[in-house]
Assembly symmetry: C2
Homo-oligomer: 292 residues x 2
């Protein structure tokens, strides 16, 4: 297992972690600059932040700062209530692949979607199996495009508390079942993003990480589970402040040959987003060395 205690060579910052500084939106160019100044070597930006700053501009800045992309957030949301919705999702996902390609991302992270309409509070139906079939089919279609672009797709199983509104792929086992069906040859075109926040509770986690193996372990996201957790979405903790045994999970990943970045992704409306982004990044560096 790699020793993270001496430096932060393998730290990546998911830009959602500092999307706000002192509760004010922080533009992506400022985030890149703040990361580069701290010799952070990798980021994972969100599409809305890239769009706001302009893709070509972000691409130029990424190169100028010598940054790598541990991933690109995000494609997915494959489910829809009608064919027009499915087609719109297909189109948008192909664009996401192209953007990820332009930014030279290690993978496109997929948050797959769930019951259509549920995120807005009005689910169109209750048939989770149908949504799961749409996800299977949607990834299958996207793979034609992403293979040609040479962009690996990383299915991110989300915590079961998001099964209704954000992602109906909720365990690593389920994500790997999709990989087996859609890419049985383990070509590298399809794998998983393991976010400790979503999977730490799973009694089968170690077994499924072993099952995934190096070719399907495309990303590692870290933060922590707080007790109590006061909000389902935006109360994630800084590594070391919660109950997840992060080094143990990282060890399982690395035992399979995973050698990529440890990407910090923290949604924290009441705490970290209210602090100065510089303080947040400095804390990420410190905790990367002591708690990951």
């Amino acid at each position: 297992m790699r020793d993270f205690s001496q430096d932060h060579r393998w730290l990546s910052i998911n830009t959602a972690t500092v999307r706000q500084s002192r509760a004010q939106d922080l533009p992506l160019p400022d985030i890149l600059e703040a990361c580069a100044r701290r010799r952070i070597r990798a980021i994972s930006p969100w599409r809305d932040q890239v769009a706001a700053a302009g893709l070509a501009n972000v691409s130029r800045l990424v190169k100028a700062h010598g940054l790598e992309l541990s991933g690109y957030c995000r494609g997915g949301m494959f489910t829809a209530a009608d064919d027009a919705g499915l087609r719109a999702a297909d189109d948008d996902n192909r664009r996401a692949v192209d953007e990820a390609r332009e930014l030279n991302a290690a993978c496109l992270v997929l948050v797959v979607g769930a019951l259509p309409g549920a995120l807005a509070g009005k689910a169109a139906h209750k048939d989770l199996a149908l949504s799961r079939q749409q996800v299977h089919d949607g990834i299958g279609r996207l793979l034609e495009h992403s293979r040609a672009a040479g962009m690996p797709l990383a299915i991110e199983p989300l915590h079961p508390m998001y099964a209704a509104d954000r992602a109906c792929v909720n365990t690593l086992e389920q994500a790997l079942d999709l990989c087996d069906r859609l890419d049985p040859s383990r070509s590298g075109a399809l794998g998983v993003a393991v976010d400790v926040y979503h999977v730490w509770w799973d009694p089968k986690l170690r077994d499924q990480i072993e099952r995934a193996g190096r070719q399907r372990l495309l990303a590692l996201h870290v933060c922590d589970w707080l007790t109590p957790t006061t909000d389902l979405l935006n109360d994630r903790g800084m590594m070391g402040d919660g109950v997840i045994d992060i080094p143990r999970i990282r060890g399982w990943m690395e035992a399979q040959g995973f050698a990529g970045y440890s990407e910090v992704e923290i949604f924290s409306a009441a705490n970290w987003w209210r602090r100065d982004a510089g303080e947040v990044l400095d804390t990420c560096i410190e905790r990367h060395r002591s708690a990951v």
Copy 2:
């Protein structure tokens, strides 16, 4: 599948659903009386409510009203930071079995516990595997007592969002693995309580209900998953107000021979607990007929 649309013969009220009326605590004798007046035939009371009203008194009232107990809530909390804590849990669980026996409950529901101290915000450690071993061992010890008392134990897998602080058994598969290890002969002494709120998201739910079979399906709890859900503990919905396809899950249970009560258990600090308990019970009856 049984037709629930014509009556509420198979409705049970978990008394947590009306533990408050208009945000004021409602004593258990009043709950029993309100249920009996509506020809509700079964309840599942909580230990703290029974203790407050007196076990002998509650036992007498249950008989006088002709009520059955679809379960008794709850035993468990097997995990501890030291041996004294484990022994205290053992003692308390034996008392819970005896109380369930006195009240002639169909089963004692087990919420197994998780990381010791986490519920108070200070986890003693992060070793979920250790907690899971303690749960296995604790149920094993309790089985000696519960078998002698003739009281079935129902392991209730809780939603993964409670893995840190309330229960480290989080899927039906995991609960059934425990059953296989501790009661391989399927004697009926050990089984599961299936609460749709906790398990509805699980892609393996149908398979695991089939695996459980009639002998291990000891209880069915119903409520609904709201979108959005604003609180991890106390924002459960009334059946029909959320996204869970309850009849489908009940159908899977009944296909295995489950023929027990459908027990309504709703924790709802901001909505149902603020309403009049009579209105809540009337709504439970209506929804039992239309949405379960």
